[in-house]
């Protein structure tokens, strides 16, 4: 018997189209639950979404008004900094473009904030132009609390910690203010194709 083991391959399996997988990632079939804290169970009657900060007029929508906004169904690949990627995930939600359409701002950044105290920062250009949504359905079902329901931010072109679960609002800012994981050593932008996992990458 050879003393050399090829090692365990675990969940990593060959990918039909390797060009869809950013460097250092592997494909998973399930949707892992990652969280830095307990899962809030916010009732939709208590839920609202707010846009405030450097805007001419703050806006907020209660749940019933929010889900009446024009929505889109999006199928995208998602990439977690813990190295799993999931292909062809299907979401329904409101484009951030739609939410920002009726505010005037000179901000270049924003902080997304969530029930439970989580925050993450993004450049405005990363959440506009049809690249970000506030999603409230996953795979045709209401988004479950462990996956960020009632609603989560969805920014699929960045690592998934930017897609804040349990999101309740966006605060627009003129200066970039690092969020929870960004403060603790993760990359400020988090582009999976550039493998921007940590500060300095």
């Amino acid at each position: 018997m050879s003393p050399i083991s090829r090692g365990f391959s675990g969940r990593r399996r060959p990918l039909a189209d390797a060009s869809r997988l950013p460097p250092g990632q592997y494909v998973t079939d399930d949707l892992p639950v990652l969280s830095a804290g307990p899962t809030p169970h916010t009732l939709v009657v208590e839920w609202g979404f707010t846009i405030n900060g450097a805007v001419d007029q703050p806006l907020s929508w209660p749940w019933n008004e929010f889900i009446a906004l024009p929505a889109e169904t999006i199928t995208v690949d998602i990439h977690c900094v813990t190295k799993w990627s999931k292909l062809d995930t299907s979401w329904k939600g409101v484009s951030v473009d739609t939410l920002l359409a009726s505010v005037q701002t000179d901000a270049e950044y924003l902080t997304a904030w969530s029930d439970g105290g989580y925050t993450t920062n993004l450049a405005l250009e990363d959440v506009t132009g049809g690249r970000a949504w506030i999603a409230y359905e996953y795979a045709g079902e209401p988004l479950r609390p462990e996956h960020g329901g009632p609603a989560r931010l969805l920014v699929p072109h960045l690592y998934f910690w930017k897609s804040a679960k349990w999101v309740r609002g966006l605060t627009l800012t003129r200066y970039d203010e690092p969020g929870f994981w960004e403060t603790h050593g993760y990359h400020n932008r988090g582009d999976p194709w550039l493998e921007q996992r940590y500060q300095g990458d």
């Binding site: 892992p32 639950v33 990652l34 969280s35 830095a36 804290g37 307990p38 899962t39 809030p40 169970h41 916010t42 208590e46 900094v81 813990t82 029930d115 439970g116 105290g117 609390p145 462990e146 910690w161 309740r168 994981w181 403060t183 603790h184 050593g185 993760y186 940590y198 500060q199």
Partner: protein
């Protein structure tokens, strides 16, 4: 004789919502980061008492609610839910944020270290 050293480690300015939180289904206890803390501080801190910088509740490090299924590991106060300790391993270097702890009471008995060493290492 047990010697206790109290160290002031700063205060937290983090805020959180007032919504009702579920039973933390993903939470482990503070023993889950005991090995990390031993590696960083050179002492077993699970038996150390810490005071939350947000709500001033006192508890053993082992009693914290620990979430390890994220990009980093977060130990939260059982009383108020605020982070006490955040551990992130970046390129094999473990960074520890203990700004959520107002005081850490390290004893020679809990750490297994002689008292003067425990005091020195906590500064």
């Amino acid at each position: 004789m047990v010697t206790t050293t109290a160290v002031t480690l700063g205060s937290s300015s983090a805020t959180r919502g007032t919504e009702e939180l579920s039973t933390p289904m993903l939470a482990l206890d503070g023993n889950a980061i005991g090995g990390d803390l031993l590696q960083v501080f050179g002492a077993d801190l699970t038996g150390a008492r810490c005071v939350c910088a947000a709500c001033f509740a006192a508890a053993f490090v082992a009693e914290a609610a620990v979430y390890i299924h994220g990009p980093g590991r977060v130990a939260r106060c059982r009383a108020c839910g605020e982070p006490l300790i955040v551990l992130v391993t970046v390129r094999d270097i473990t960074c520890v944020d203990i700004s959520g702890i107002a005081e850490l009471h390290i004893t020679a008995v809990t750490t297994g270290l002689a008292a003067p060493a425990a005091a020195a290492r906590s500064r």
